[in-house]
């Protein structure tokens, strides 16, 4: 694992976490059943395009939740998968873990947005364990990654010290092989063409060139037309 760009030579500021979430949110289709992972993925809910409403699934057993309760007002009997307390809203449904994971494993989640430690050029995902800790938490991540109709990774493009996260082969333990469809980062949007095992650079952040993005990416990026500008 090496630093892809040891001097950290960024040609322009990277997008912040909210901007990553906003860009990932733009591809979410009205009426979809979605599961948003903790962190940047959860923030997607704050940036939905006008007219788009989603049916949020939390693997602990809710479909149709929206915003959280005010601090101090939540009830432990209405928790989301991140351990926060949403509000009770009309149209919500509660169910047990058997049903929740039948929904996931059965391929009924339209889109899962999650964070990653590494993504490979074939769409392999590693996001549950840092080897040096020796132990990790799988939770629902393997079920979601392996079985959702579409898997989007929303994350910072590189780890600390500019270590590449988009790599030729994942060195961290996999969550699922061959599962990621799109990566949205603070400097690029990359489509994973899983039929041909190639990464296609679709968009770059303002001030970033394709070469700049490639310099921060271990896996080889290909072009399929001129990349657009992230906004």
């Amino acid at each position: 694992m090496t630093s892809v760009h040891p001097n950290g030579n960024d040609p322009a500021p990277r997008l912040d976490r909210a901007a990553i979430a906003k860009r990932a949110a733009r591809d979410l289709v009205d009426g979809s059943t979605v599961n948003l992972g903790i962190g940047i993925p959860t923030m997607c809910a704050d940036f939905l395009p006008d007219g788009v409403e989603l049916l949020y699934h939390a693997e602990n057993g809710i479909l149709g939740f929206k915003e959280l309760s005010a601090p101090g007002e939540g009830d432990p009997n209405l928790m989301d998968a991140g351990g926060k307390f949403p509000k009770l809203v009309p149209g919500m449904a509660f169910f047990d873990s058997v049903e929740s994971f039948s929904l996931i494993r059965g391929g009924h989640i339209d889109v899962t947005v999650l964070g990653a430690l590494q993504v490979s050029h074939t769409g392999d995902l590693a996001n549950w364990m840092i080897p040096k800790r020796g132990i990790g938490s799988i939770g629902g991540a393997m079920d979601l990654a392996a079985n959702s109709k579409r898997v989007v990774v929303a994350m910072e493009h590189t780890a600390r010290d500019n270590i590449a996260k988009i790599v030729d082969e994942c060195s961290f333990p996999l969550t699922a092989p061959d599962c990621v469809d799109e990566i949205v980062t603070d400097i690029a949007v990359i489509e994973i063409d899983r039929k041909n095992d190639r990464l296609v650079l679709r968009e770059v952040a303002p001030g970033w060139s394709c070469d700049d993005v490639q310099a921060h990416t271990e896996a080889r990026l290909e072009l399929d037309g001129e990349p657009g500008l992230m906004a």
Binding site: D30, G31, T33, G51, E53, L55, H57, L63, G64, S69, A70, E73, G74, D75, P76, N77, L78, F85, K87, L88, V89, P90, G91, M92, A93, F94, F95, E99, F101, S102, L103, I104, R105, G106, G107, H108, N147
Partner: protein
């Protein structure tokens, strides 16, 4: 808005629709409305050759009778029907009030539309007249695949739950086991059974909200909730369609994600 959370843990009798009335403006309704205007519209795209799950157990309760009649009227053929106690009400009165002429899955065999049934109970009791399904089978016009009821519902559930196969003790040492893989766990023999999905599920619920969440009543659950998860397209016949919130969040029996189309019966429909 505080009301919701303050009372959630202590007053479970309150339904979400009560909250909606107290402060209607804070809720937005999902734009997806799965309401379909007529039973004919709801089944119009079913092609010949389709596989079709039909909910219920046998009897009137939980059976999507109006959807079945619409499918019969559509007239498509070469259908595979998947159901439970299939086609025995007409000859035995099974599960129908005495004053009504029973309607059952046999209609697709009487009409010649169905060429196969996968079910657990195609034959009425030994002293009863032949069912339409049994008649079609005797005449060589229909295949009948008889599956133990628990295996049938578990295979349907498995299809919806992403389980391609499972082992069951039921059927070991019987004709059901012929040609199937056997495997021992802890010294006991089991059969491998595979998931069973369909192109369409026609199911029945008591109530739907416009998004497609469903509420069932009494013993009318039966095969309906599992079938909703196992078909490419799930079409639901209900007595009532309500706005989101009109079904208590604690009573949602089928999640809206599984539902494609909902049709409301006419009020006062004489059929159960």
């Amino acid at each position: 808005m505080v009301f919701v959370c303050e009372h959630f843990g202590t007053n479970n009798q309150r339904s979400v629709s009560d909250i909606q009335e107290k402060d209607r403006t804070i809720w937005r309704v999902m734009p997806i409305n799965k309401t379909t205007n007529s039973f004919a519209d709801a089944v119009a795209d079913i092609p010949s050759g389709a596989s079709i799950m039909i909910g219920g157990f046998g009897g009137a309760g939980g059976q999507p009778t109006r959807l079945m009649m619409a499918l019969r009227d559509l007239g498509v053929g070469d259908l595979t029907i998947i159901g439970n106690v299939a086609g025995i009400s007409k000859t035995t009165g099974y599960g129908w009030p005495d004053h009504l002429d029973p309607i059952d899955q046999g209609m697709f065999f009487e009409s010649g539309q169905a060429t196969k049934i996968i079910c657990s109970f195609p034959v009425p009791g030994t002293t009863n007249p032949l069912s339409d399904i049994e008649k079609a089978w005797r005449e060589g016009k229909a295949d009948v695949d008889i599956v133990p009821q628990g295996t049938l519902i578990e295979r349907i559930r498995a299809a919806g739950a992403g389980i391609p196969g499972f082992y069951t003790p039921t059927g070991v040492g019987t004709t059901v086991a012929e040609g199937k893989e056997h495997r021992e766990f802890d010294g006991k023999a089991y059969l491998l059974e595979e998931a069973l999905s369909a192109d369409y599920a026609l199911i029945r619920a008591q109530k739907a909200d416009t998004r497609g969440n469903l509420q069932y009543i009494g013993t009318s659950r039966s095969f309906n909730p599992a079938m909703a998860t196992a078909a490419k397209t799930t079409i639901v016949e209900v007595d009532e369609i309500v706005e989101p919130g009109g079904i208590d969040s604690e009573r949602v029996g089928t999640l809206s994600t599984y539902v494609d189309r909902i049709v409301q019966r006419e009020s006062g429909d004489p059929l159960p």
